[in-house]
């Protein structure tokens, strides 16, 4: 019943030419997404900035939010900058309510998000 989460990893160049890892999520982000989401994070957990792409995510619940916070915990430990884009207005509001926007900037599109890092 829970839609599968697929996470792909891209590498792009930031405005100053420095590499940025982009985690692109597809499907739902829920308790069933741990392996996909945290597994992908562990492959980019090397100190560089990370973008989170939610443009193909249909549903995020509180367990999914907890996974995003787990990524922010790891980013805080390593000093990695994180930004997110592609959230619907509703989930932008939810992310702001729970405080995620304090630790990861929320942007409309990839270009704006990348330029913030």
């Amino acid at each position: 019943m829970q839609a599968e989460t697929k996470t792909t990893i891209d590498r792009i160049s930031g405005t100053n030419g420095s590499p940025i890892a982009v985690l692109r999520f597809t499907g739902d982000i829920s308790s069933a997404s741990k392996e996909s989401v945290i597994g992908a994070w562990q492959t980019v957990n090397k100190g560089g900035p990370v973008l989170l792409d939610f443009s193909k995510v249909d549903y995020i619940n509180s367990s999914g939010i907890a996974l995003i916070i787990q990524m922010l915990i790891e980013a805080d430990k390593t000093g990695q900058k994180v930004a997110a884009f592609g959230l619907t207005p509703h989930f932008q509001k939810v992310f702001a309510m729970v405080g995620i926007s304090k630790y990861a900037g929320l942007y409309q599109d990839e270009k704006t998000a990348a330029s913030s890092l």
Binding site: N61, S62, A66, I69, T88, H90, M97, V98, G99, I100
Partner: protein, 148 residues
Amino acid sequence: MTETASTSVEVRIPSRLGFEKVAMATAASVAKLRGFSNERIEDLKTAVAEACINAIEHGNKLNEKLSVGVILSASDHELEVKVVDNGAGISKLPSKPDIDRKVHGEEDPRGMGMFLIQALVDEAEWVHDSKGTNSYVRLVIRLDKENE
């Protein structure tokens, strides 16, 4: 505005994670038929999903022999949702989550569900019977001012 009769819809879902999306979609359909704005419908969807997840995980403890009841009652100006499970309910609402404590590892990263419910709907109350074998959360969401 012409008054229309109140509507009641009931759904029962198994105590299996993922099925909260059935309740969420049903609530969204009822709210749309009643003229709720997209923004209010999105708020409702998240609140209903979180209430069902709590009922599945904590109320019915993922026992698939038990079901979660979702009763939607719509009037012209508001939609009431009751999410019923077989658990003992909660005796005390959890404190508001603290993102700083969570990010610094001082608080469990989980535990956002009840906070989101309270933040997204106009009324939320948790009710349990004296025997501790049945409880429900009652949510009320009202039409936004633009549509009144």
